[in-house]
């Protein structure tokens, strides 16, 4: 937790500034929305966190969100399939996508950046072609199924604020991920693979399997996220659904202290990083800065955050050095 003080500081500053100078920040409606978006994007960021932990990258997850998010209403409404078939099929499909990435990267030794960049183009292309580029939606049906994402759980003592249902999968997934990374043998090995892949191989660690597993987890979570996103919004355009989501996820992980060189991942950091980005987007809106500025602001904050982190690290190292010298 100690290494997240900086990020927590940024998060609080953005919250306070928005609360003071913006309209409607502290309304129950706005907060519920924020929690909802944080939960959904955190699920994506957790997935890419695993991949980043192995020293890789996944650029395709936004397109996987799109493909899955489009496929669900397409299969349910256009083709009339049963939800009992659709949900497992799209999840299995996204896991298969990850398996494909993993095998290409570990067996063929292609670079993760390249493989997933091709994925980014490929899956969006398929989604658009499959639906004839037509918007897909639930047309008011399947309300029960959609309540997984749009449901709100009443909290005792609070009237207006009800907890978005998506926090439940997030809490479960984040807990599992945190336990996996810090308590299990495979988690340790995953991070070891990220910090020195060949030393890991020479230690008898099945690196190829771990790396493949990380890509499977990433795409699977992207698929799950895609499903929850479409349940949340109800209908979407294949041409822009999930656009740039991979970048939000990667940015959140990096803000949360995951090193792109691999070997270190923090679940708390990822969730906090996602929350910070979402509050930032929200505050740009509420402060009336104009949504055109959104990317510029996020880019600037990310850069400042990463630079500050590096400076603090150096300062800390220098202080240790000096203390040694004194």
């Amino acid at each position: 937790m100690r290494k997240h003080w900086g990020l927590l500081g940024i998060f609080l500053v953005v919250c306070i500034v928005t609360a003071l100078y913006g309209k409607n920040f502290l309304t129950a409606y706005n907060l519920m929305n924020l929690v909802q978006r944080t939960a959904l994007f955190s699920i994506l960021a957790l997935g890419v966190g695993f991949v980043i932990g192995t020293g890789g990258i996944d650029l395709s997850l936004g397109s996987v969100v799109c493909l899955v998010g489009i496929a669900v209403p397409w299969l349910l409404i256009e083709h009339g399939w049963s939800p009992w078939a659709v949900v497992p099929i799209v999840l299995a499909g996204s896991a298969l996508i990850g398996l494909g990435h993993g095998l290409l990267i570990t067996r063929l030794r292609l670079q993760p950046f390249l493989v997933t960049l091709c994925g980014l183009l490929l899956y969006r292309g398929i989604a658009r072609w499959m639906t004839g580029d037509q918007s897909q939606g639930f047309q008011g049906e399947f309300a029960e199924l959609r309540s997984i994402a749009v449901g709100r759980i009443p909290l005792p003592g609070l009237e207006a604020f009800r907890l978005p249902a998506t926090t439940i999968p997030l809490i479960v997934l984040a807990t599992v991920a945190a336990i996996f990374l810090t308590r299990t043998v495979w988690g340790r090995w995953l991070l070891a693979t990220g910090s020195n892949e060949s030393a890991a191989r020479y230690s008898g660690i099945p690196t190829a399997r771990l790396v493949t597993g990380a890509y499977v987890a990433c795409s699977l979570l992207a698929g799950l996220g895609g499903m929850l996103f479409i349940f949340d919004v109800g209908s979407a355009q294949p041409s822009d659904f999930g656009n740039f989501y991979e970048l939000y996820a990667i940015a959140a992980a990096v803000l949360g202290g995951c090193s792109l060189r691999g070997g270190s991942v923090s679940v708390v950091g990822i969730v906090l990083g996602t929350a910070t980005l979402q509050v930032l987007r929200n505050s740009i809106n509420l402060l009336g800065l104009g949504s055109q500025l959104e990317f510029a602001v996020i880019g600037a904050v990310l850069l400042a955050g990463v630079a500050a982190d590096e400076l603090v690290r150096r300062w800390h190292a220098a202080r240790l050095e000096r203390r040694g010298a004194g």
């Binding site: 910090s195 191989r201 230690s203 008898g204 050095e321 010298a325």
Partner: protein, 504 residues
């Protein structure tokens, strides 16, 4: 004529509360070889790094002395500045950029160019000259990453030579060289000394020190334990100053009698180049040494047995075929301590604890969960058993001295109580005391039934540790020597491919 050109005045260096060096007074003289000796962690590398601008001293100063004997302080803020005043360092841990070709690596920072364009032809010509100088017959366009470790070491030396240094500093340059390359290197250093270059030399091989050094500084726990002139230098004196304790005698090896075969290697050919098949047997509890020249294929053979890299032929463990990936073989009880610890052995940014427990984790795990208490006990035990210093499991491996890094990798595998232990240069860069500790640990593993196969370029070590010696030449086993009948001369004869029949 011998004249001091560099002098240190009470140099000290501390790292986060640890005193690595304190009060070092050293004279570096033109035309002289100054040896720095000491145990692992004594501060040798730290001193060399300070002399070459890699590290700044926490106290004391360096003085440059000119022809007239006037001294003035030299403040080195970077390696580049040290290079400018003619100081070049060959690091203990290899760090060539793997994607560069030899010409690029050797002339890094001093590339030839014409109007901003690289002049590759003249770079290659110059690189070829320096490669020839260190006895490497390689194309300057070869990639560094593709070279075996000994050759990379020689390339590092070529790189330092090419800077035309007045002061050449070498940190354990021979730790991965075999006897023949070592001799060649020593001859080369002698030649440089004659031409007036000052050489600072670190090695754990005291015979090298005795052969070449004009003076020796002995360090113990970061302090000067003594300075010896050539006349007063002998092995016993140096060791006494260095260790400060007498080494206990080595455990006697039990006779193996009719122990069953544990590891059987039959007709293994590795995919590297054209190689002849290698076959060998290691019995339960036996320690077999693999000797041979650099490039004889020892590392390739060990890696083939471990399932790293492609190879044909059969390998059996306890009568059952051993195949599949390294991970699958490790599950059957195989362990390998690699030659290149920085690249293949260590997670340098992680603490000693996770480095040591890495391979043990699944054994201590309950339903996949790491047993943290068990891990702590294991690592503490291993630190005591191998006398790792400093004995702090939270210490980042990067900050350990070379010998202690080696112990860390060995500890990882001793922790799993392997049935086959493969070691590639098990005591590379390890001092006499620590070498003794490591040898004892290997003997103890063998006593419990582990089949040990180790490769070493250090003939003394082969004779000291092995029950039986196999000599490799060009990928195949050129001959076998029993411990009693083995001599350095007999091993070298087989290693160079001659006298195969005569030795039988």
């Amino acid at each position: 004529m011998v004249r001091t050109i560099l002098r240190t005045r009470g140099i000290g260096r501390r790292f986060a509360g640890v005193t690595a060096l304190d009060g070092i007074e050293a004279d570096v003289r033109a035309g002289e070889v100054l040896a720095i000796v000491g145990e692992n962690g004594a501060g040798k590398s730290t001193l060399l790094k300070i002399l070459s601008g890699v590290l700044a001293p926490s106290s004391g100063s360096i003085e440059e002395v000119d022809e007239h004997g006037h001294a003035h302080e030299l403040r080195l803020r970077s390696v580049a500045e040290a290079t400018q005043v003619g100081i070049a360092l060959v690091h203990q841990e290899l760090n060539l950029a793997e994607h560069l070709d030899l010409a690029g690596a050797i002339l890094l920072g001093r590339e030839h160019h014409r109007f901003g364009w690289l002049d590759l032809r003249s770079m290659h010509a110059e690189a070829a000259r320096w490669l020839a100088r260190v006895g490497l017959d390689l194309d300057p366009s070869t990639l560094c990453g593709s070279l075996p470790i000994a050759q990379r070491q020689l390339v590092e030396i070529a790189k330092a030579l090419s800077a035309n240094a007045r002061i050449l500093i070498l940190d354990e340059p021979t730790s991965s060289l075999s006897a023949r390359e070592t001799d060649r290197l020593l001859a080369m250093l002698d030649e440089l000394r004659r031409s007036g270059v000052a050489i600072v030399y670190v090695s754990h091989h005291l015979d090298e020190v005795l052969a070449i050094a004009d003076r020796a500084i002995v360090l113990r726990d970061g302090r000067m334990a003594g300075t010896l002139e050539r006349a007063s230098m002998d092995r016993a004196t140096i060791e006494r100053l260095m260790v400060g304790r007498d080494l206990p005698p080595t455990t006697a090896r039990p006779s193996l009698g009719a122990a069953p075969d544990r590891l059987v290697v039959d007709g293994v050919v590795t995919s590297h180049r054209r190689r002849r098949p290698a076959s060998l047997v290691v019995k339960r509890g036996e320690i077999v040494g693999l000797a041979g020249l650099v490039g004889a294929g020892r590392t390739e053979l060990l890696e083939a047995i471990a399932g790293l890299g492609h190879a044909s032929g059969t390998i059996m463990l306890d009568g059952r075929a051993l195949s599949g990936t390294m991970a699958q073989r490790v599950a059957r009880g195989l362990a390998i301590v690699p030659e290149d610890r920085a690249r293949h052995g260590l997670f340098t940014l992680d603490p000693v604890r996770t480095n040591v427990s890495m391979a043990w984790l699944p054994r201590g795990a309950h339903v996949g969960m790491v047993d943290h208490a068990g891990e702590r006990d294991l690592v503490d035990g291993m630190i005591t058993r191998l006398r790792l210093r400093p004995s702090d499991p939270a210490r980042r491996v990067q900050t350990l001295s070379g010998g202690n890094q080696q112990k860390t990798v060995l500890g990882r595998w001793l922790a799993v109580e392997p049935s086959v232990l493969l070691l590639d240069e098990p005591t590379r860069g390890v001092d006499v005391g620590a070498r003794h500790d490591i040898h004892e640990a290997i003997r103890a593993a063998a006593t419990t039934g582990c089949a040990v196969l180790f490769a070493s370029s250090d003939l003394e070590e082969v004779l000291l540790l092995a029950d039986r010696i196999l000599v490799m030449h060009d990928g195949a086993i050129a001959g076998e020597l029993a411990r009693e009948s083995a001599t350095e001369v007999a091993i070298m004869g087989l290693a160079t491919g001659g006298a195969l029949e005569a030795a039988r």
